[in-house]
Symmetry: D3
């Protein structure tokens, strides 16, 4: 279904650069499972490496927001962008990081509310209040 | 600049239904300031009422996610939807609720990362792994 | 503010191909006013001509939907796409074609409702019911 | 395929709050068929209730726009937002409300035209004409 | 899966206007294969004709950009708009026009980079530098 | 107008990490002008550094696509995402790299065509032809 080949483990192993990145993915995540996204990116090792380096820095390294909050934000962006695969993978990640059903419900409510007011603001072309301008 | 009239306080006061909603906005928020969004919605009292009722329930009432986290999600959706007004108003709201510069930085990083992988997934049309399907 | 020059009437008159299209715009619309969109497209006569021909066929020629309904659909698409200029110009066009405040309110309500359920459906990745498949 | 469980009729019946909403959906629509969207929302009764209340008020109650026009606007928004499920369900609804093939063709034409000019306006960053500003 | 019937070759042959357009598609492209997009548009001959005329003028006629570059731009737009079908068909077209794996990698990199900075710019609401204004 | 402070040169100079990145931007681009985007990112040195590193690798380093083609793709994505700032800055960059008016016209035509067919495909929910599946 993809527009590129999804690399099997055997194909990954045959390419030292890709194999090293997949090994790092498995180590950092503490799991043998490597999802299709990385198997598609394997066709372009530069993109694969840059994307994995970014994801490690942004989603896995310690930061000012806890890992679950970061997943909720990821789901929100992916939903607004309509990326089904990303919604699936990051909803699974959020559940693995402890997202409760009540938190999922709140996430859905905020996404729905924002989508609605975004559209109303666009339709009315509301000008920014001076009070909201950074000083 | 808007496609509709933005109601002044005097115009609001002259319409009992709108005036009651504005009074509730001021009470619930504990502030006299009512931003342009509501002044534009005032032209359509049904939409105004439904939107304010939704916002109160979703963004202000106690829930499973704390108020700052809900603002971060709101900003994420508004950014992906490109709603400048909403980004301004909810960034201001997040700061008022204590968002630190470091948290803002993390928010930006996650939004940028998700936008990037959303695009890559779309470009490659990656199929959903069976492991991500809800059982 | 545009990324290209907006042609003045004098510049239009000096280019016979562009002048002929502007004359047609004025005749078909029964108005001397030609808005900035066409003045920006004038830099690329092929795009100008193709766009105006399309607009005449789709928005002005008699069809199965009345002209106001077509404007409402245009506003809906432009709102979802976040095109401020288009929202402004087609809200003005809808008002010129008789859109009442109550109809504007209904339009806003449907746009807001659809935006909200679009987001919920995306977030939940709801599969299409067999009942909705064209047979 | 969804990120949440789709509730069966038996599961709905076992939850009084959800069962009452599903009963109202069936009554208001005059049909036993309840589509997957509501079965996914059933996991979050608050979101389910708020969404159904909104939909009843906006899409079913009498208003200034006739029910078919509202469906056409819904399809337009859903198309611009790329929500496949919503396009399927509301195209089915529009057909059930009498949309003819010719009207469907006009709808497609307007959506295509607006998408094209939205993109051109964005690419050229056309400034809003003073004539389009609300006074 | 479509919301309309996809016309078979037999159905196409039975409608002279549609048959003529399909014959032109086959001639211009030098191939018997006509993909589903055109089979769906066949329900609306006006839309079919206008779309095919546009595509011939924009994507096939000689121009200032070579055919492969035009396909890369098409894929970029389709990716940002999340149109899976379009990504599939135009990635196939780009490969048929000689897109190498390295070029595909660069295309993905630029799409990912732009998506990321688009989001950052939106989140920060960066004002346009005077240096970028067309003079 | 931004949601964050745009750093002046004096503020940049006072922060060694940011100053080093700005110096690199000036050296790599061979110009003293640093646009607002980087002045907004300066508030978050991690995001600034990661974004500049990405941009250097993707847009400036030699690759399989020439620099102008990469700018055209960047404009296409930014247009579909409705990022006005990005459209301004990358249209300026494309002109600086030699984009002719005729090439700009072709770019606009392809963006408009793709936007139109993306919408039609979405509205019709056309299924992917087996011929387009990667083998």
């Amino acid at each position: 279904m993809a527009t590129v080949k999804l690399w099997s483990d055997a194909e990954v192993e045959a390419d030292p650069r890709v194999a090293a990145i997949f090994a790092d993915i498995r180590t950092v995540r503490g799991s043998d499972f490597v999802n299709n996204f990385w198997r598609g990116l394997a066709n372009q090792p530069d993109v694969l490496e840059r994307t994995w380096d970014g994801l490690k820095a942004v989603m896995i390294a310690p930061g000012a927001l806890d890992p679950l909050t970061r997943e909720l934000i990821y789901i929100a962006v992916s939903t607004a962008n309509g990326c089904g695969y990303c919604i699936h993978s990051h909803t699974a990640a959020a559940k693995a990081k402890g997202m409760t059903d009540a938190q999922h419900g709140d996430l859905l409510s905020v996404i729905a509310m924002a989508s609605q007011t975004n559209a109303l603001v666009n339709a009315l072309q509301i000008p920014v209040d001076p009070e909201f301008q950074a000083g």
